[in-house]
């Protein structure tokens, strides 16, 4: 099935993303990489973590705003256009909270369409999925899925160019692991599926 790209045009207002992961999966870094890549593309962007004590394994939220215009607000994102779920063990009530009508979910999952649709139970949202854990295990040898999820994200919603994402990855990681992460992002970019 061919992928539907440019599913959501970037409007004049900010496109607002919320990231859900667990401590250690790199949700905060993913939020920053997308903002950095968008900034490299001459856009405006903001990325910030959910502020709090950091603990490995604890549910973590992070936020990204991307806009063609200067972003004024500094309020937290309460009604995101899209949520990106790095860890499927997070309760769906948490990641569906406030998601806009007609919004998008990008989820790291190996499950099929019917199973995911049953779990998410929102007819209005578009679901995209990628098996980022599998990609990360292949490319990095560890289940650190953030860069793969970034690759999948920019295919579903073109907030930044893949080249810019690669540049941002190289800025954030040591050379030794940067290239494997660039590869993971590229693979996820090609492998992400839109389910409806």
């Amino acid at each position: 099935m061919p992928l539907r790209t440019i599913i959501r045009p970037i409007l004049h207002t900010s496109f607002e993303l919320r990231w859900h992961g667990r401590g250690g999966q790199g949700a905060v870094t993913a939020a920053i990489i997308v903002a950095e890549a968008a900034i490299f593309d001459e856009k405006y962007a903001q990325a910030f973590p959910e502020f709090g004590a950091e603990r490995r394994g604890a549910p973590v939220k992070a936020y990204t705003r991307v806009s063609e215009q200067q972003i004024l607000t500094r309020s937290p994102i309460i009604a995101p256009d899209m949520v990106v779920v790095l860890d499927t063990s997070i309760d769906e009530k948490i990641y569906l909270d406030g998601l806009k009508v007609g919004g998008t979910i990008l989820i790291n999952s190996s499950k099929g369409k019917s199973e995911l649709k049953e779990k998410i139970e929102r007819e209005d949202v578009m679901i995209a999925k990628v098996d980022a854990t599998h990609i990360a295990m292949d490319e990095l040898g560890a289940a650190i899925v953030n860069t793969a999820m970034v690759g999948a994200l920019i295919k579903v919603t073109p907030l930044a160019k893949l080249d810019s994402v690669s540049e941002a990855i190289r800025e954030n990681f040591k050379p030794k692991i940067a290239e494997a992460n660039v590869k993971a992002a590229g693979r996820a970019y090609n492998e992400v599926e839109v389910l409806n």
Binding site: F40, Q46, F48, F51, T73, R74, I78
Partner: protein, 394 residues
């Protein structure tokens, strides 16, 4: 202009902490004293990187507390170094007595502060309680509202400090700015600010030409020495205007001392400081679209207090709602900016209703919806004479 801009600036995604570090690098600081453990921020991490990479030739002095960080800054500055330090929250509190010594010895130290709440109860989140506690320390105080402004203000701070011989603090929201990445133009050209902040000769500690600094002043001289600080702070006003205007002329970015937003034809002006101003501007845009006549302004220079700019703002304002992210307990109107605005209005015989709101303490969320509700309450004029603790659960 565009082509010049492109050749000297590089547009980078930076948090305000990193913007501080880039600005200290581009101000060519000589010495950085820091207690490297919490509540220290990533400012000094980035500066250590610059030193290790050879991008900045400076001495990083790791000390055992913020009290020592300011002591080391005082020593370095007295010996002639361009000194820089960074702190936050309890760290700024621990420095407190040294803040008076730095300003009393007239040392041009520049410090960045990621403004955060104070313990107890323990909070690692943002507000302006730490910064507002330093109002009486004779430090020039700039409060920025974007990472770009943080970068530009640090550079401006050295020009002001080294002209008037008073230390300068550049504050910005802890977390909401210190940890938020956004685009910042930083210098791509080494020495871009060399003429803007030239190395000036001044009296320094030198074994070949000994001087005494920080001597005892008996009752016959203490008062006069302190009065010189009053004069210096008064001079800092004009120098702050000059530093910003010259920066704007040379580099294309200026902020003024008070920034106004849609103040004309407004029935209410929302006055605040720091990063929350962005959210306020967004709320003003939304209210204006609905035909609600609201404007906004923010105080960028808190010390010295920008009397002329605020006076001109007040003369255009029909009512003012002041949003403070700190409070001085025991006063009916407890917001620091509200208190100072009212005192100033009294001196100048300006009579405009001022409503004081306490918001965002310990980083309690403030959204555009909060700002709109505050505005509609203030527009109804049914507002208490005392500070309103917005959204608190009693």
């Amino acid at each position: 202009m565009e082509t010049i801009a492109k050749s000297i600036w590089k547009r980078l995604p930076l948090s305000s902490n990193y913007a501080v570090a880039y600005a200290a690098r581009d101000s060519d600081v000589d010495e950085i004293a820091a207690y490297p453990i919490t509540p220290q921020t990533t400012v000094v991490e980035k500066l250590s990187e610059f030193i290790a990479n050879g991008e900045l030739l400076a001495e990083m002095v790791h000390v055992e507390s913020e009290h020592s960080a300011m002591s080391a800054s005082i020593g370095a500055s007295a010996a002639g170094a361009r000194a820089f330090t960074a702190t936050s929250s309890q760290g700024l509190e621990l420095m407190h007595e040294l803040l008076h010594i730095a300003s009393g010895m007239r040392l041009p130290i520049v410090m960045s502060v990621a403004a955060r709440a104070l313990s107890a109860p323990l909070s690692i989140w943002g507000d302006y309680s730490d910064v507002m506690n330093t109002r009486d320390t004779s430090w020039i105080t700039i409060i920025a509202s974007s990472a770009q402004e943080v970068y530009d203000s640090i550079v401006q701070a050295y020009r002001i400090a080294e002209s008037v011989m008073l230390p300068v603090m550049v504050a910005y929201d802890g977390f909401m700015m210190s940890h938020t990445y956004e685009p910042v133009f930083v210098s791509e050209k080494a020495g871009l600010f060399r003429d803007y902040i030239p190395r000036k000769g001044r009296v320094v500690l030198d074994t070949k030409k000994p001087v005494t600094m920080g001597a005892v002043a008996n009752p016959d001289w203490y008062y006069e020495t302190k009065y010189q600080q009053v004069k210096a702070m008064s001079d800092a006003y004009g120098l702050s205007v000059e530093a910003d205007q010259t920066f704007s002329k040379l580099y294309g970015r200026g902020y003024g001392l008070v920034e106004e937003y849609n103040v004309d034809n407004s029935e209410l002006v929302i006055l605040t400081y720091g990063g929350i101003f962005g959210t306020v501007k967004q709320a003003v845009d939304e209210m204006r679209e609905q035909g609600i006549p609201v404007g906004a302004a923010r105080v960028r220079l808190f010390r010295p207090f920008p009397l002329n700019e605020l006076r001109s703002l007040l003369l255009k304002s029909k009512a003012v709602a002041v949003l403070d992210r700190s409070f001085s307990n025991g006063l009916p109107v407890s917001g620091p900016l509200a208190v100072e605005l009212k005192s100033m209005m009294n001196s100048y015989n300006i009579n405009v209703p001022v409503y004081s709101y306490i918001v965002g303490l310990g980083q309690r969320t403030v959204t555009e919806a909060d700002i709109s509700k505050i505005a509609s309450q203030a527009l109804s004029s049914k507002v208490s004479n005392e500070s309103i603790y917005w959204g608190v659960r009693e």
